[in-house]
Each structure stands twice: as C-alpha cells, then as structure tokens.
C-alpha cells in the first residue's frame, strides 16, 4: 500500500465486524442465508428472500463489475484529497449485492461502466476497506514490484 490516508471509519459492531475486518487475509466476505444461499448486504438478521434467520459468513471471489462511477473533484473530508474515483460495484456471485467503494489503479480515461474489477484492501487502524482495481492490473503491478 502506498501512502496512508486518514479516513473516517466505520464503528465496528457484532453484525458488521466480519465485513470490515475480512480483508486481514485478503479475502472479501459477505453474509449468506444458510437456507436459500441468498447473499445479504448490508448485514441484517433476516434473509430478504426466504425470511430465514440462519446465516453464515462466506468468502467470495473478490471479482466484481463496475455498475456506476463518479470522479469526485470537491473536497468533502479534509484528509481525503480529490480527485478520487467512487464507484458502485456488483459482486460476481450476486449482482444485486453492491458496494460503494473507491476504484483504484485506474486512469480516469479507462473507467468504463461494465468493466471487470477485483478487490484489494486498504488497512486503516482495525479496518480493512475493500477497494477495487481493474481485474488483472494489480497482479501485473505486483509482479513488477517483486
């Protein structure tokens, strides 16, 4: 990870701690209904499809598709310097599950709705923020670095 950005961070609770700390091992995880295998996000104690309250935390591939995007040019939070890219991504396992996140390692001109992305995490205090980069881009960059 390059420079550390000081960000406002989520309050960790018993229902969201698994999500915000999942990146410690580099893997993205979501809650899933044990009965009907519907992914549930943000975490709530009941499945919106079958109303079962039996859930489990499961690992996902970390692959996602860019569904909506904006390049923010205005400073809202003094410690987060614009410009930066905010996107909504749909996870590969279930397109209705989305994350608002930052799109990183991607030139503005290369941003395309529908583009394939993969997760990477930014560690901030006790939180691992999932962010997304163009699929494959990170692997090439890491190969160059090592």
């Amino acid at each position: 990870m390059s420079k550390t950005v000081k960000r406002p961070l989520p309050m960790l609770t018993d229902s969201n701690r698994f999500f915000w700390t999942s990146g410690a091992d580099g893997i993205l995880r979501f809650m899933r209904c044990t009965a009907c295998r519907n992914y549930i996000h943000p975490p709530v104690p009941v499945c919106d499809k079958c109303l079962s309250m039996e859930q489990e935390v499961v690992a996902v591939s970390g692959r996602a598709t860019l569904a909506a995007v904006t390049v923010n040019h205005q400073m809202w939070i003094p410690t987060i310097e614009p410009p930066y890219v905010v996107g909504i991504v749909e996870i590969e396992e279930q397109a209705s599950v989305r994350l608002t996140t930052n799109i990183v390692n991607c030139a503005e001109a290369d941003l395309r709705i529908g583009m394939a992305l993969e997760v990477q995490f930014e560690e901030c205090e006790d939180v691992f923020l999932p962010m997304f980069k163009p699929a494959g881009a990170g692997a090439k960059a890491q190969a160059r670095e090592s």
Partner: protein, 397 residues
C-alpha cells in the same frame, strides 16, 4: 367514499426572507414564515389546531433543521390538537400529506406546516468559530459507514453515480441535462426571492467547475436560509378564509416500493420516485396531458430528470430528448418546469418551495412569471435517492 385528498385545501402560504448567510436566528425565520402564512389565510394563531413539519428537531442536524414542531408550538403558544414531525417520511412534502390526513380524519381544521433551513448561516457560524463542530472524531454508523470512508461524503457523489449509469444506459448528454439548470435560472430572474438571478447560458453551465462527474456546480442546488409555511385547511373552512377559496389536492403519491438505499436499488433512476409517481396516477383520472406545469424536486438536476421520466411525461430513457433545447420545459412551453427557478437557482427551500410555487401559480398570483393560459393543474414533488412524494394540485374551484 370520497378520497381523502378532497378534504383539504391550501388556504395560506408564507415565506421568510430567503438568502445566503442572512445571519438570522432560524426561529425568527420560522416565525416570519408561519405568521405570514396564518395572515395570508386570514386566520389568527388561535385558529391553528395542527402543526406539522419536516424534519423536526434532529440532533446534530446543524443548518438542516431550523426549528422543531415543539419549538414553534411553544414559541407561538399554539394549542394544536395534533402535531407531528419527522425525517423518516415520504420526502419533505410527506409532512403536507400527514397534515392532509389530520384534516381528513377530523383531528384538525387548520394545520400549520413549515420547513426551515439555515444552512448558509450555519456554515458561516462554523467557519467563524461561533458554532463548534460537534461531530467528527467518532466512528461512522447508521448507514454512513458504507460510503463516507471512501470519501463519498456528499449526495453529489451518490447522485452523480446514478446519473453516470443513466447516461451510460440512455445516452443522455450534459447539454440535455443542463437545460434543467438553464431553464431554472431563466425563471429565477423573475422570482423576487431567488438566490441566483444572474443570466446563465448553456456554455456557462458546461464550463462550471466539476463537483463530481458528471455533475458540475450548476447541477447542485444552493444551500440558503429560508422558511416556508402553509396552512392546510378543511375545505369547508375555505369560504371563511381570506381568499374564500383554496388550492385543491387531486392526488398524492407516497408509496415506497424500492430499497431504501443509495446503492442497492435500481441504479438508473434515483430511488424513492417510482413508487410515488405510480401511486399518484393510480389515485386520479387525470393524465399527463392534463397537467399544466410541474414543480419537480431539483436538489440536483438529475432528480428533476428522474421525476420527469418516472411521472411519464416522456418514455423510458427519453428525458434527454424531451429536454433537448429547453423549449418544452420553458415557462411558455408545453410543460413548464420549476417556474420559480427551483432549488438550483431560487435556493434550497427543501421541498416546500415546489408546493409554494405550484400554489402561487394556481392562484394566478405569480406576477411576472405567471404561467400563461390560466393553469388549472400542477404537480409538486420532493425527494429522490431518499423516499419521495408527489402532490397533484388543482386551481381553486
């Protein structure tokens, strides 16, 4: 049974001074607007037996809430049979629907509704250290945790993403979207209280600084200080009011049919609009061709586009073509839009400005900006991105 909308009429409207950094106590603005509305209806405060507002006193709301229902009741020594406020309702105009229900059920004869903002002054007081920011330092919760860590801190960011998706799906151009802002500015030139009245061309719009792509400065409304108030009366009392008549309600739309979420729903259109739009038409025999003007929520230009399309004034994905050139939405066009300038130019009266303008126009009291040919119907909306509401209003009969 007659539908509940027919029980109520708007008998009074009031506004405080409106502007940037008025440096006035928000309760003073609220008193100005509410007393003006009571006087406009030809009533006295003793006649007020209901009070309703959005959002009420919300802890930490800052300039977003200038006065709560309890504050106003106590300040004016009102004695309402019923009062209500809340952030969680069908948009800012949901508070008008609540008032209508109180009238229709017989709880109240005259409900005083108000919305007060003092965002411009609040920010100024923060800048000069007279108000110390009480938030910050703590951890995020209550839904903000999913966006703020990524710097997606403003509705400008959240709505920009929807707009990007809509553009991707339907080929909307900035030139088309910009007609909403340019049209608003043109109308605002004739609105005495408008914050921004200077002429603005499409080129000015396109060259404005970018806030969050594709939204530039003039796609975003202007925070201000303002209070707007209405008297929602039982129709049988209208003959005793100052005008002897009131603006009527034909239908309301308050349905909430989508995810209450900034990222889990349909990403092409702002959520909170489709439900109210469909419900509105389900409660009336009037159709789009019968509507003489629309006052559509434009906290961002894209909100108004979503309302225009979801209300069925054009087909799916066709709002860009509808807006092209701006003639259709002009004050003398086929569907006049935001005839006071909307929130983009008149100021963020936060929902209540749209109802105010609809009433003024339907009463024929809009002066230089009066929509021609004696308009009989108007739609006023609030919300989008958050659950919204729509009102179909009719000229006094």
């Amino acid at each position: 049974m007659e539908k509940f909308e027919y029980s109520s009429v708007v008998t009074g409207m009031g506004m405080s001074d409106i502007g940037r950094r008025l440096m006035r106590d928000p309760m003073a603005l609220t008193v100005d607007a509410t007393l003006a509305a009571i006087a406009d209806a030809g009533l006295t405060r003793d006649d007020i037996d209901g009070v309703c507002t959005y959002p009420g006193m919300v802890p930490g709301a800052g300039g977003f809430s200038g006065a709560g229902a309890h504050d106003l009741i106590d300040t004016l020594r009102l004695k309402p049979n019923w009062h209500n406020s809340g952030l969680e309702q069908a948009g800012q105009l949901g508070s008008i629907v609540a008032a209508m229900m109180a009238v229709a059920t017989g709880l109240c004869r005259h409900v005083l509704c108000f919305r007060t903002v003092w965002e411009a002054t609040y920010v100024q007081l923060q800048r000069t250290g007279q108000i110390r920011y009480s938030g910050g330092g703590g951890r995020l919760s209550g839904g903000m945790e999913w966006r703020i860590p990524y710097g997606a801190a403003s509705a400008a960011n959240w709505i920009a993403m929807y707009c990007s998706r809509y553009m991707h799906e339907y080929g909307l151009t900035k030139e088309q979207l910009g007609q909403i802002a340019v049209n608003g500015r043109k109308n605002a030139a004739l609105t005495s209280y408008a914050v921004y009245k200077d002429p603005m061309t499409l080129e000015d719009y396109l060259s404005a600084r970018m806030v969050s792509t594709p939204l530039g400065l003039y796609d975003c409304d202007v925070p201000c200080d303002a209070s707007v108030a209405f008297i929602i009366s039982h129709k049988d009392t209208a003959k005793d009011c100052r005008r002897g008549r009131g603006v009527g309600f034909e239908a309301v739309g308050t349905a909430n049919t989508e995810r209450v979420s900034w990222d889990q729903g349909d990403l092409r259109y702002l959520t909170g609009i489709d439900g109210p739009a469909k419900m509105l038409w389900s409660r009336t025999d009037l159709r789009q061709k019968d509507i003489d003007m629309v006052q559509l929520y434009d906290g961002f230009s894209f909100n108004a586009l979503c309302w225009l399309e979801k209300l069925g004034f054009c087909g799916e994905g066709e709002a860009g073509a509808f807006l092209e050139g701006g003639q259709r939405i002009a004050r003398d066009g086929e569907l006049p839009l935001n005839t006071n300038g909307g929130q983009l130019s008149a100021g963020r009266l936060h929902g209540y400005g749209f109802l105010h303008e609809a009433c003024v126009q339907l009463l024929g009291e809009a002066g230089a900006r009066q929509v021609p040919n004696n308009p009989q119907t108007a739609i006023a909306t609030s919300g989008g991105g958050v659950p919204g509401s729509a009102l179909l209003l009719t000229a006094p009969r």
